[in-house]
Every structure is written in structure tokens, then in C-alpha cells.
Amino acid sequence: MSGEQRLNAPMGLLIDRNQPVSFSFEGRHYRGFAGDSVASALIGNGQWLLSRSFKYHRPRSVLTMAGQDANTLVQLASDPNVLADRTPISEALRVEGQNYAGTLENDRDAVLNNFGRFMPVGFYYRAFYKPKGIWDWWEKIIRKKAGLGTVDLKARAGYHDKEFLHYDLVVVGAGPAGLSAALTAAEGGASVLLLDENSVIGGALNYSRFDAAGVHAEGLRNGLIEQVEAQPNIRVMTEATCNAWFTDNWLPVIKGSRLYKVRAKECIVAAGAYEQHVVFRNNDLPGVMMCSAAERLMKLYAVKPGNKAVVLAGNDEAYLTALTLAEQGVQVQALIDMRDKAQDSVLSEAVSDAGIKIMTGKTVYEALPTKGNKHIAAVDVRSITGQGKVADSGETIECDLLCMSAGFMPAYQLLCQADAKLSYDDERARFEINNLPPHLYIAGSVNGVYTLDAVIADGKAKAILALESLGKPFLAEVPTVHCDKQMNFNWPIFKHPKAKEFVDFDEDLQVKDIVNATRIGYRDVQLVKRFSTVGMGPSQGRHSALPTARLVANATDRTVSETGVTTARPPFNAEKLAVIAGRSFDPYRQSAMHHRHVELGAKMIPAGSWQRPAFYGAPERRLECIAREAHAVRNNVGVIDVSTLGGLELRGPDAAEFINRIYTFGFLKQPVGKTRYAVLTSEQGVVIDDGVSCRFAEDCFYVTATTTGVDSVYRNMQRWNAMWRLKVDIANVTSAFAAVNLAGPNARKVLEKITGLDVTSEGFPYLACREGDIETPLGSIPARLLRVGFVGELGYEIHVPSRYGEALWDAVMQAGAEFGITPFGVETQRLLRLEKGHIIVSQDTDGMSHPGELSLGWAINRNKPFFVGCRSVDIVMNAKQTRKLVGFTLPAEMVNKGLKPEEGHLVLRGDDISGNITSCEYSPALDRIIGLAYVGIDQAESGSTFRVRVNGGSEVQASVCDLPFYDADNKRQEM
């Protein structure tokens, strides 16, 4: 653990010694090399302490050097919980520690370490709530200690986008298994995407040693990589993580700030295996790491992980690590093998020949810290006397590095997400993955195959299977794969009376925590997880799953297979929200006249995906604007863009019959040239949309629908006709038409100027529809005209092909200029229609409103055999009615009293709620407050009064009145 010393080449595969990089950690400056990770650069500088643990604030340092643990989580300026062993350094990068009080070095919260015994597993459930109410106080204190890093509230996402990719075969992991699979598949003619999360391909070949001489891997690696890179059918993607497996081989691959969504016809997962730790006291001290971590430090970064090492072996791999350590000048004090002997005697001879003492049948019982607890200083080595049991005394061996390997756990995450089953072979002490879905294969160490030749054969074998499934049979025999290498020591767990033998580093969970959870009754491994939080931290159980399963099995008299492990869920690695969110697609839709409204200063509001003018003018003068616009419509002429209104074109010999079945009214006898109100009920008998049906020919109807309802109305129509099979063509023409409603006493005068149609009250009476031309200075526009009365004045809707929409608007505005034509918005329209007592579906109706409650009985044809919802309408209308939508006014003196009921206020009856206000406005035309409300059926009589509770809790009396409020005999709209 000395200063800036780096090993010589060929160590340091990833770094460029010619490119020094300086950065800071906790305010201190350090130098590393391009290619270094934050962790390798810091350790290269002798800075071991990287983070503080979640619960006890224990000092932590690298464990895997592969981003598979939470020990290296650090804070970047606006990026919390960043993996120091996967994050490259860059010039002037500022890195901080996280989760401490004071400094990382002197964390005041580290005292929590001494109180561990008062915090048994699940202690939160057993304290802090007596006396009643005290929890509120405790909670605040406890919450302050929660969390790891800190979010930067000013952070914003950079640019993140996504890309869809399609391949015959995706190979996840470019270790020997993946390389060999990709090569075979590409040779067989498949298009292959080969993914690896690291910056270079090769996987374990890059850092691991495969034989005593240490030569086999190098040649193999170079050969495989060269061939893969030369193969045109293979696309290699590095620094790319396959972050989940979703149904039908749908693979999210994250590379930098881009999310690739990859569809693979076939997928081979060659993701390798995670080395496992030995559970003993203080196994979390800085300087205690996986064998593979030490190898990565040396091979990838040329960092010497220590000067005096002890290697703790549960398999032969650790022997190889000992050899590399020795070769790189680390004094290996001892190789402690928990087994009776190594499986491969060649290896143990090589280790002995290197002058390393091999101690078999022993384990590290405890790691002893330096003064200050920041690093390992020695190990207490004991003979193993039984499962998890050790001799009463042993020997102490000094060291500043402990490399351990208890075994390997397959990288099962992606496969578990594919519902593969993880089974445990109690005899061989290893997991197996089976029950894979079709088109998904595993190869290499994830498949429990460890000898290099077998790994390569396995990759090839799976590629041949994938090729077969692709219909590209490969004329080669499927190699048989055989591997009897024993990787796992079956009980690498040594409980210590003083505890701190960590099973889960993320959550600071010790052996007793797991065992005690089962003793308190949480026996299922899933309950153990939820009670103790084992496996719920940032590394999601990559290292705790196996020891937990073993401990739970042992404590509950079951086998590990019976116990199982908890479910691995997406994502594979923690993923930034911004990457998944991506570039935000927020589609918006504009009418052909949109820019005219903006130019006129409209306040635009959303209406479904559309934007519509609410009114024209400054938002703070809303009421004034609405009043002005309403006045213009009532007394002169106004125009509103109604392009967003849904439009459906129904044509064919059965068009009338079709509409007759869809809508409640009768349409068979609707005359050509006339419009009819059309109400739509759901199959439950609830009013869900309304519009106007225009018959332009015997076999041609144009039906309007609400802005937000039309898509679903259209879909439902199509579905009904897939069953009815009537001769009708149904088209959603909403976007094909732009439209305005020209309304007000002077509407006819304006219209006259721009059309040759007979627009007199006889020639074009109320509720008629016409086809004709609108004349503009730029030419004439074919139009459909509907004489309708939604706002209660003489009015014409003019619908034109949308390409003419802007010209239509201009023509109307120009023709109306001499009358002072006033554009009006949706909010004004809402007031005007309220004065006429017209309902707005979804504002004045809710999910239960049936035609009876809305007094729409007149719009239901009782003589026809069927319409959608008819039977339900019968049932609900025949049942006892409970409420009704009525018009109401407040006494004249209530105007301007500040007691106007608002939409949503309640109607009361005694102590009960009997209804609610759906619409309420001050009507300038009537100088009264008017509205629509659901009231109890007994309150619905015209002239009767009811109470409304308004803002502030006071009540007002409203009286039921007949509709419409305005122009009761409809003279104005029919003039």
C-alpha cells in the first residue's frame, strides 16, 4: 500500500503510461493514467479508503474491481452513487466520498459500528414506537441517516437517445465463451452483435491466469480477438451493458448515454461468473479483496495491490492468483486452502516452487486491522474442524493484502429475468441454470463450465444450436463439453462471537442477522430478504445470495436447492434514469390555424394532444377577455377554431343502419341535408360521447365527435363492424378537415360575403347542412357547412380540407372585419353553451351518467331494435333514479359576492352529499350566476332549492330552473 508505484508492462493492459491524468478525491489531488478507473488510480496512489458502509459507516475499499459491489460507490459533482471501479478518470475530475459525517477519513457516524449489538436484525420493527406518537420524532432522526450519495437539485439530463437494433444473434459477454460463440455463429452466416461491458473484449482472458506457466491465455486471447475483429458478420460493441432480458429476446443495451433496444432472434448469454467471498470477521477491511480483483488491479491497471499478501483459497483459481502476485513482486506469506488439497497438483507444486507456503484445511478466521481500522494488518488463521467450525487457536500472519476465492456464482441475473430456474447441486456445491426459454442459451462459466477449452467448446456448441434455430445449419458436430473443475468450497462461512463477518457488504449484514431472521420466524428466503434487507442494496445480492441461501438452508434444516435464492429483477446494473427516459418524445398536434391564434395572442391550453385557444389576451385578464368575446358573439359575431373536433366519414349502403346501431337516436330516416344530435352510450349504458350526424347523401354521413373522444369512438366503430359486417366504410377524417364556427347575430352577413350558397333562413335553415364553396381572394375552397347552435346564436360551422384551413380563417376574419368579428376561445364557448344549457360530455357527465340523468331521453329512439348500450340504458332508466343533472341559478344579489360555486363543489341534502356542481359561470348576458349540477332526484323539481357548499365552507342556496337559461324559445339560433 505504498505510493505511486506501478508495475511494468505487460501489466497495465488498459492504461496508457504516456498520458498522465490528474484528478481530485476528497479535495486532494492525485495523478493516474488515461485508462485508469477512479479506484485503480487511487489505489495506485495508496489511497485505499473509498467509501463508508450504509449502516455502520465502516471504511470500505475495492472488493471486485469490476463494479459488482457497493464498496466503491463515490460521489461526482452532480452524480451520486458512482462506481469508482468502473468510472474512468479524466482531467480535473472531482470525486468525493459519500455517506459520512465530517470527512471520509474521520466519519463521526463510524461510532455506529460500536453499537451494532444494539441493532439486531429488524431492530427498527422492535423499537421507536413507545410511547405512542414517539415514532414521528424518531423517524425524522433516522431518516437523516438514510441514503448514500447526495442528489444535485440543479442537475439536468444531457442528451440521451435511443436506437433499435436487430440481429440474428446477440452474444452477451465477450469472454472466451462469447468470443467463440460469436465466431462460430458468424462463420455460419448469422449477423452477430457481440456485447461486453468492458472497454476491451476478452473477458477473463484479459486479467485471469489459466495455467501455472501463465501463457495459455495470452495466445488464445490474441487469436480470438483478431478473428472476431476481422469477421464482417460480427459487430463488436464494448462498454455496452446488456441491462436486462425482456420477453422475446428484447435486450436493452446501455452504452454511454444511449439506450439500444436490441431484438435478437437468438441470444447466447456468456456473462461469466462472479467470484464469491469468504465470510469471516472483518472480511470487509480495505485490503481484503477477491482474487480476481487483485488480478484486475495488476493485469489491467499495473497496480500492485499490496506488499505482503495472504491468499485464501476455496478452489484452484486462487493458486493462479498467488503465482501472479509472486511474479509481480508481492511477497505471498501463505496460501491458505480451506480444502484438504488442490484439485490440480501441478498448481500446488508450482506454488510451492515459488516459495509460497501452502496451508491446507485452514481458513482465515478473522482479519485484524491496522491501528485506526483502515486496512488489514494481519490474519488469524485457524484449522477448520467442521462445517463453519475452527480450532480454538491458530496463528497470526501479517499481511496488507488478502485475496480470497470461495467459489463462483453464475451471472444468473439475465437468465432469471427470463424465468430460467436456478437449481443447486448440493454435491458439487454449485448452481445450475436450466429451464431456459426457446432461443436463449448459456455458455461458459455462467453455464458452470470453467476449463478454458471446455468454455470455448461450449461457446461453439451454443452457436451451432442458435444457427440451427435460425435455419442456417452449420455443418459441424456439436462439440461435447466436459468440465469437472470444482470451483466452490461448500461452507466458506465462519461465524465469530464478536461478529462483523459480513454476508452482505451493501447492507452491513452479518451471519447472525441472517440466522436470527429465521429464528424469529422469517424462514422463507424471501422473508429473510425482506426482514433483514439482504440482497436489497445496490449490488442486489451478487455476493450475498449464495451465503444467505446456505445459512438459511442450514438454519431451517433444508437443502440449498429447497431454500433457493431471491428473484433477480431488471436492471442488471443500476441504470441512470435519464438513459431509460431518453430523448423525451412529447408529440403535439396543431390545427391548420394554430399560428393565427398565436399571432392574435391566444392563451393556448391542451386538449388531448392538441393545443387550443382558451381565450385571446393576457392570462391575468382572463375574465375580461372571456366577457368581451362572449359579448361579441351574443351581440355581433365571433369565430372559433373547431378543427380539433372529431370527424368520421361513414359511407356505403348500410351507413344509416350502422349509425343507427351505434348512436342512440334514430338515423334511418334522417333527411339528406339535415343534421341530427348523436349521443353515444357505452355497453354499460353510460353517455360517453356526442356529436352531430350530417347526412350529405343517402349513403354518406359525416359525424362529429368530441376532440378527446374521437379516436376511441372510431376504434369502437371499426370493431363493431368487424362483427356486424355491414356494407359501410368508416374513416376517421378528423385531421382531414379544418373548421370554424361562425356565430352571432351577424354571422349570416359575414357568411354571405364569402359564399354563393343560399344562406337565408329558408334556404339554409337551422339544423341543415350544405356543401358549397367559400370564396377567398386566393381562390375558392370546397366546404361543408353545418347550421348548428352549440353557443345559442345564429351559427355556421364551416369545415374545409385542412390544407385550406389557414386561408379559411383569413377569409372569415377579412369578411368579418367590417363587423368587428371577434375570435373566441374554448373557455368563452363553455360559458356560451352553458347559457344554452348544453352539456359537455366529460365535464357534465361522469363515469356513471346515463341518458335519464341527463334528461336525454328525447335523444333515444325506443322504436329501433338495437343500439350499443340499449339494454343497459333500459335497465338503468327503469331502475329507481337517484340523481339528475339540472340547471340552477343563484339569487341575483349573489353576483359579485365572492360566493360563486365552483365546479366540483357539493350539493347537500341534510347531512348528506346529494350531488355536485359540474358547470358554473357568471353569465354576463343574464347578469346571474348560472350552472349545471347533479342533485338528488327529490331536489330536481324546477323551482326547488338546494344547498351548495362553496369555498371557505359557507353555503349558498341555489334554485333549480328550466333550461336553457338564455333565449328559452331558441329564437336566436333559429333566426
Binding site: 437517445d161 433499435f164 396543431q590 374513416a731 385531421s735 382531414a736 378537415f737 386566393l778 380540407p801 386561408a807
Partner: protein
């Protein structure tokens, strides 16, 4: 780069307009029968355009027919009929016939006559039954994406594989592009291989921005129709 037969015009002087013209106001527009189409941009760079270009074809006339008699009707008018749904055929004069279902056909006008031929087809007498003209000239906007990176641009917006091997000229995908329903056609316009996108006119400006954004990685630029008129 305008040919002599073209008349320069501003879009707002024409009767028919669309939701995009303000966004591409820096283009030089020429007149179509009733509208204006962007012919070229002052910043036109033909090498950039050949790599990746986005062109608004909305002013070019389109038409459509649906019903059992549609195929016969079109055939009688001399148009080729694609054999199966989701296939497209292009005529010698440059119109493209899309077959969208068993009984639905759309016609995309040629860039050389801005769709006049299609307009003529639309004005022909209709069969007495089972053939209904569609409204796609107004309900749908039309953009083309051209250049060697078309498939790569689409890969950022759409889940259908549009690489030439699997989506050759003559293919149609009715799918979702940047969360909007769209019809994507691989065909040629003015002799140039393009992807045509047809989608709800209300989203005209939205889709333009989305496509430009996606193509910026490939140096994508806005181009006028003259960029498509290669011989």
C-alpha cells in the same frame, strides 16, 4: 437550384398551406397547382444532402381509395396494383401506389408534376359501389428521408427493421414513429431512393423536428424537392 418551369412563390400567397411552412421559411418555394413547395434552401449543400436529407413533400398531391372495387378502378386507370398488402409499386412517371390492406390503396404523386396525375385520377368518375375515395391528401402530411443513412435515422425512432436487406424498395410498414402512427414506404422519388413517411397532419411540425434531431448525428439537413430530382 430551380428549373425554368418553376415559379417562385411564398407559401402564404397560396390557397393551400400546411403546418410546416413557417418552420422552413428560409427555403425557396415554388408554386404547385394550389400550394407552395420548398424547392431548395439557401444553405443547400449537395454532399450533405446525399448523405442524409429531409424533405417536405406534403404539397404534392396524394389520393386514396378503399373498397372491394378499388383495385379494378385503379387498374382501369392504368395504375399498377401491388400484389399484397404493405407493398408499393412506382409508375414510370414517378407515382407510387401503396397497398395498405386487401382493399385500400394510396397514390403518392410524382415530384415532377407535383402530383397532377394523381389529381387527375381523383377527378375520374368513380365505380358505382364498393370504392370510396379517401382523405389522405389532407389527413396526412408527407416527408421523405433520403441519403445513405435513412435506415439508421429510422432506427432511432421506430422499432421496425428498415435496413435495405429486410426492407427493400417497395416495402411498406404501418408502424409507430416517435410515438406517432405513420406509414413508412421505401421507394424512389424523382429517381432517388427514399423513405416516405405519411402521418397525421396535426403532427407535421413535431415530426419534422424529431426527424431532423435524429438525423443530426449523420449530418442530416433539410432539403428542397430539387435535391430529389436527379436523373
Amino acid at each position: 437550384m430551380m428549373t425554368d418551369s418553376m415559379t417562385a412563390v411564398r407559401p402564404e400567397q397560396q390557397l393551400a398551406r400546411n403546418g410546416l411552412y413557417r418552420k422552413i421559411a428560409d427555403a425557396e418555394f415554388v408554386a404547385t397547382a394550389e400550394s407552395a413547395i420548398a424547392a431548395s434552401f439557401s444553405a443547400d449543400d449537395s454532399s450533405a444532402q446525399s448523405r442524409c436529407a429531409l424533405t417536405d413533400m406534403t404539397p404534392v398531391v396524394r389520393g386514396g381509395f378503399r373498397g372491394k372495387a378499388s383495385a379494378d378502378h385503379l387498374q382501369a386507370l392504368g395504375l399498377p396494383i401491388p400484389e399484397k398488402p404493405n407493398q408499393a409499386l412506382t409508375t414510370d412517371k414517378g407515382e407510387t401506389v401503396l397497398r395498405l390492406s386487401n382493399t385500400e390503396y394510396w397514390l403518392l404523386g410524382s415530384v415532377t408534376d407535383f402530383g397532377q396525375t394523381v389529381a387527375d385520377v381523383r377527378s375520374q368518375a368513380m365505380p358505382a359501389a364498393d370504392c370510396y375515395p379517401l382523405f389522405c391528401n389532407d389527413s396526412h402530411a408527407w416527408l421523405t428521408l433520403s441519403g445513405e443513412h435513412c435506415a439508421a435515422v429510422m432506427a432511432k425512432l421506430c422499432g421496425v427493421d428498415m435496413r435495405a436487406e429486410v426492407f427493400p424498395s417497395g416495402s411498406i410498414a404501418q408502424t409507430s414513429v416517435a410515438r406517432i402512427n405513420a406509414i413508412v414506404v421505401s421507394h424512389s422519388v424523382g429517381g432517388k431512393a427514399v423513405f416516405s413517411l405519411l402521418f397525421d397532419t396535426g403532427y407535421h411540425a413535431y415530426m419534422w423536428d424529431v426527424l431532423l434531431d435524429a438525423s443530426s448525428e449523420f449530418g442530416g439537413v433539410a432539403a428542397g424537392v430539387t435535391a430529389l430530382m436527379v436523373d
